[in-house]
């Protein structure tokens, strides 16, 4: 089992009140699965995504990722897991504006450590080629179209060969045509055997996945398989 969570809870302390964002989520995802996590605003789906992506830790409960117990990790150890196991794709791309596309895509390798600059750029260029951005290597992000930026973002997520690809509203900032192109790419990556997790409130996007997990009020309400 690639991802196994048991009874995840997350409580935020907001001064006087306490907010229970997750109230016991138990979820298992196998390697190679194509999963969508759906839920309305405030359902806890973002919180779940942050915990699955090791950006945050649960208040209680267990999270095992690639046979590693990560729920107890923090700081550097957690950053390491993020670097090696997770590939993020954000709604608003989140590319760094001051460096070119290749440098952006190579950045996870920088934090991995032990990879020479030359090797980093080669690997980044490779991934960009596969995603059809071989002609945009030296450009700055602001010189790319929306679709190109998201492709570059996906390239960055892939460069470290992570265990899971975590895409948060990947088509949210794109027009429908470009959005389809991006979903095609994600579909293709799933067919290659990668584990892809979509987090979205859009049913059309979720429909691409083979399993949809509905989150409501901090718990899993239902699951559907297609």
């Amino acid at each position: 089992m690639l991802i196994a969570t048991k009874n995840l809870r997350k409580t935020y302390d907001l001064g006087a009140a306490q907010v229970e964002a997750l109230r016991g989520v138990t979820l298992e995802i196998e390697q190679g699965e194509y999963v969508a996590i759906m839920g309305p605003s405030g359902s806890g789906k973002s919180t779940l995504m942050h915990i699955l992506g090791c950006l945050d830790t649960p208040s209680s409960g267990r999270y095992t990722l690639a046979e590693r117990e990560v729920s107890g990790l923090a700081g550097r150890a957690l950053a390491r897991v993020r670097n090696e196991e997770i590939g993020f794709v954000f709604q608003n791309f989140n590319l760094l504006p001051r460096i070119d596309v290749v440098a952006n895509v190579a950045l996870p390798l920088v934090y991995l450590g032990g990879v020479s600059k030359k090797e980093r750029r080669t690997r980044a260029a490779d991934v960009l080629e596969r995603l059809g951005l071989g002609h945009r290597l030296r450009h700055r992000p602001n010189e790319l179209s929306g679709g190109e930026r998201q492709r570059a973002s996906i390239a960055r997520a892939l460069v470290n060969e992570p265990s899971i690809l975590l895409a948060d509203e990947p088509t949210g900032n794109l027009d429908s045509k470009t959005g389809k192109e991006i979903m095609d790419i994600l579909d293709g990556l799933s067919r290659e055997g990668r584990t892809v997790i979509l987090v979205t409130h859009d049913a059309n996007v979720a429909a691409h996945a083979r399993r949809v997990v509905q989150i409501e009020d901090g718990v899993i309400a239902r699951e559907e398989r297609t």
Partner: protein, 411 residues
């Protein structure tokens, strides 16, 4: 991220907003420039003091003088003491193992005449060690010798100004002059001693060592025999065998003199003591100068800290992304700290160049003595790196501590 890439990232961040980079570094540039200039001025002043004392003789000499008593009534012991005498000088020479040379001095103003010329001149009775002690080379002929002292010889050495006064351009060696009725043969002429202080109101024209040029030198024994009633000295300079032996000599001389006098009515001063005293006077200005320099550096540092904080606020999202893809807090900390150091160090380099220019200008247009050593440049450079570290630390820690989830959400 390795060291050089972090520096590259820092330089990039600076280049991204050129106007901000300029404003940030102005404080550092001015601060470092003032540090360089002020330290050079301080060094220049000190060096001038040391050069002055070097002209007067090196660091191995001790000067012994009669302590002035302000009190009207002297104790019996004080009255009994003869104060410094030629016999004291001889005792020091024999009884102090650390001593190299002893030169006692008795100074009187006496009439001196040659042919039709007649002057009241300063005559100094001393021994052969005098020119050694005060670094006074002989221009022509010779100085007083031990035999002259032993034989109470009537020989005289002329300081260059007095030689000119008595003989004009005539050859003086071998001629006879009359000092208070006693004929003396001229055996030598001293080289001219000069030193001009730079800076300060107009004293640059005055040779502060003219005193030496206006003297006649005769053996001290002759002085005592012919012109004084006793052998009391006006001054006594002794030199130690080495600079390290100076403290020993001070103690030994102190013991000998105390034994002879019975009271401590003398003062033993070392040249380095005098130099230290002079430097202490300058210390007041040094403190003011340093305060100015370091306040401006501090201000520069605070400016940098503020601008770095602003820069971080702009890049919160970016920090969140970096953390999301695997940057640890330490990675972020190092990156931002290095950025601050790059900013301050480049400002520091510009500041050093500016400081070089300012120092040259001060020397040229204000006539003040300066000494810009490589050590000063090194201090300035290290200071700018240090300012980067100190003032970059807080913003860097702030950046490192950002929560990635919140950072990513930041608009």
């Amino acid at each position: 991220m390795n060291f050089f890439e972090s520096i590259d990232a820092g330089a990039r961040a600076m280049a991204a907003n050129k106007a901000r980079a300029v404003i940030t570094t102005i404080g550092i540039v001015l601060g470092v420039a003032s540090v360089v200039t002020l330290l050079s001025l301080m060094r220049g002043g000190q060096q001038q003091t040391e050069a002055y004392f070097a002209e007067l003789g090196g660091a191995r000499e001790l000067r012994i003088t009669n302590t002035r008593t302000d009190r009207v009534f002297m104790t019996a012991a004080e009255r009994a003491s003869e104060r410094l005498t030629y016999r004291d000088a001889q005792a020091i020479l024999t009884d102090c193992p650390a001593v190299l040379t002893v030169d006692p001095e008795i100074t009187r103003f006496l009439d001196v005449s040659y042919r039709d010329k007649n002057f009241m001149m300063k005559v100094l009775g001393t021994n052969r060690h005098y020119p050694y002690a005060d670094d006074m080379p002989v221009a022509k002929g010779r100085f007083i010798s031990d035999q002259d002292c032993q034989n109470y010889a009537n020989v005289v050495m002329l300081g260059p100004t007095y030689k000119q006064d008595l003989f004009g351009d005539e050859e003086a060696i071998g001629k006879t002059i009359v000092i208070r009725g006693v004929p003396f043969t001229v055996v030598g002429i001293m080289q001219k001693k000069e030193f001009y202080f730079r800076g300060g109101g107009g004293s640059g024209d005055r040779n502060v060592l003219e005193w030496f040029n206006r003297s006649l030198y005769i053996p001290i024994t002759t002085m005592v025999k012919r012109f004084t009633v006793d052998d009391r000295l006006d001054g006594l300079e002794i030199a130690a065998k080495s600079v390290e032996a100076v403290p020993d000599l001070t103690e030994e001389a102190h013991t000998v003199l105390l034994r002879h006098h019975g009271v401590e009515d003398f003062t033993i001063e070392s040249k380095s003591g005098q130099i230290a005293a002079q430097n202490q006077e300058g210390a007041f200005f040094n403190i003011i100068f340093s305060a100015v320099a370091f306040v401006s550096l501090f201000v520069g540092g605070v400016v940098i800290a503020n601008i770095m904080l602003a820069s971080i606020a702009e890049r919160i999202r970016e920090i969140g992304v970096r953390k999301a893809i695997g940057a640890s807090g330490l990675d972020v900390f190092v990156e931002f700290l290095l950025e601050a150091i790059v900013v301050t160090t480049s400002g520091g380099l510009v500041g050093i160049l500016l400081g070089l220019g300012l120092t040259a200008a001060v020397e040229r247009f204000l006539g003040m003595p300066v000494d810009l050593t490589p050590a000063i440049v090194a201090i300035a450079l290290l200071t700018s790196v240090g300012v980067g570290i100190v003032f970059g630390m807080f913003p860097a820690i702030r950046a490192a501590r950002l929560n990635p989830v919140e950072a990513l959400r930041y608009q």
